[in-house]
Point group: C2
Chain length 330, copies 2
């Protein structure tokens, strides 16, 4: 289905479409006609038109997207944290010491809020305990199983279904126009890679995220890479341009984020020569998704919003600009 | 020109070619008919034939290549080291302390051998002094200028012309068959990225190499990334599978290397499930290139060679299997 969509989009890109073709050829059907949709369509038209002043060659059409809150939801807590909490439960029998050790002790009584309320160090401890000490292959298998089965507490849907349909359309549209789409997320790179290709059409080599060090080890059964507890990159805030430079090696021409973790990435992109598109997803829909911004403990949108307004970046109002949120929405 | 070549190769891949078409449609004209060429053609045919037992979907067709000694020459010393030595000379006026400080003192007298002979620490000092302390943009500009002008002492050609024509053909052939081609080199990632797209058709985001840490900094003129002297990854030996995992996130199906720096990458690739192609370039041509293997101080080929023979990997004999070495060869 997607292949057909892309093919037809590619054809749209190559031929002049009669205005009457209208709705049938709309590459962004879940985006209501509004300022964001118009800004996207105009930008893409400008940079893909050979000979035009804003033209960007195909090789340089790099588009990057934050993940949590930009491509999928991030409430009531980051989905990767939900994964980590599930892993603590699953691993508890092998860790009798957790019965007396915080934050595991509190967590294992079922008091998630109390455990996470112990602060950043406690959360990092949970992540380290569940994301290191195994081979990369073992971890990928665990994540794949979680992605295929774990369900969101509110919707009862798979977490991997809690993705934004308008953004899927945008990813497909950009690819059909010669863009290479990347994820640049504060989330774990090895947590995302096992499912991003299936879910977003973004292959592992185009996923940038926070990462730990790995170590090569020759075992009797063959070579493996061991996931260590040592941090390699925190791909958040000022770490996002660092991650982009490390993995992509050139500045994106289009970037979408949603929160406090993104301003440096947005600035870094905006500062480059040539035309750039800077987009921000604003969570305004308490009914179909969640509404939060300046004071949220997750996905806080504050300074980046002010900067967006000041600089004329595109701020997407989910409630008024997206006709559907999730793929399972009617 | 390359685009036309690729197009015709793509067409060859899609249609049945009459045997009489022969030389005209040979995707590897600089490879003499021999065991290596046959092994490559058979492998690619096997993994690209839909429905065949060895079939590999396009998304998984990852091909990785070492750079020094695999895609371009590495004698009489690694080209990146030649770049670093040139930079020392250029930067010397800003570093009066180098007049009394080794290895710079010896180097600035013109005694390259004496300076490099001071050992690994001296060499790392030269690299650190020439590869850090500037912005990534500034460094890329310096490298681009070097790549466009610096000439090899023996051939008098640009270093960026000292690339292997048979490997260029192989890269183009693999891409035409749906492979994504990557460099995985012990060389510096930021030293390679400014020119690999033009020279090999490999874009920056598909270049993996040794790297230093970078730091985001907001300057009055805009955001920059500063190259620090701190190592992030030594992409050599056991660091090569680490680099592949960090940047690509899945095991290659085809890998080409040439030296002691590659065995872990070759083993890591060979150990994966499914069909894999492991190739080694053996430098046997003292006349047209260089001849060296077990006892060389650069590009030593020893254990990996034994392993290749034992496991039936493909060892390319440059002298007898390549009809041309460089693009400028007749």
């Amino acid at each position: 289905m997607r292949k057909l969509d892309q093919l037809s989009l590619a054809i749209v890109g190559l031929t002049l479409v009669a205005p009457s073709a209208g709705a049938q050829t709309d590459p962004l059907p879940s985006w209501k006609d509004g300022s964001s949709k118009q800004a996207i369509l105009k930008f893409v038209a400008d940079v893909t038109k050979e000979g035009a002043p804003g033209f960007v060659p195909v090789a340089e059409r790099i588009a990057v997207f934050d993940n949590d809150g930009t491509l999928w939801s991030e409430q009531p807590l980051y989905f990767q944290l939900a994964f980590a909490l599930e892993r603590v439960k699953a691993l508890a029998p092998q860790h009798p010491e957790w019965k007396t050790q915080e934050p595991f002790k509190t967590l294992l009584t079922g008091d998630v809020k109390g455990a996470l309320g112990q602060g950043e160090k406690a959360i990092l401890g949970i992540v380290a305990a569940t994301h290191s000490g195994m081979t990369t292959d073992e971890f990928a298998k665990t994540v794949s199983e979680w992605a295929a089965t774990a369900k969101h507490p509110r919707s009862g849907r798979l977490y991997t279904e809690m993705i934004y349909r308008p953004m899927l359309e945008l990813l497909g549209y950009l690819r059909a126009q010669g863009f290479k789409t990347f994820i640049v997320s504060g989330g774990g790179i090895e947590f995302m890679r096992p499912w991003t290709e299936k879910v977003y059409g973004i292959p592992p080599e185009q996923v940038v995220g926070s990462s730990g060090e790995t170590k090569f080890e020759m075992r009797p059964t063959g070579p493996v890479l061991i996931k260590e507890a040592k941090v390699s990159l925190i791909d958040d805030g000022p770490g996002k341009p660092v991650g982009i430079n490390r993995h992509i090696g050139r500045r994106p021409v289009l970037v979408f984020g949603n929160s406090a973790g993104a301003p440096e990435m947005l600035q870094w992109t905006a500062a480059a020569a040539g035309r750039r598109f800077i987009g921000i997803v604003h969570h305004t829909d308490a009914e179909r998704e969640w509404a939060y911004d300046r004071t949220s403990h997750i996905g806080k949108l504050d300074k980046a919003w002010d900067e967006a307004v000041a600089k004329g970046w595109t701020v997407v109002d989910m409630k008024s600009e997206w006709s559907r949120i999730y793929p399972f929405d009617k």
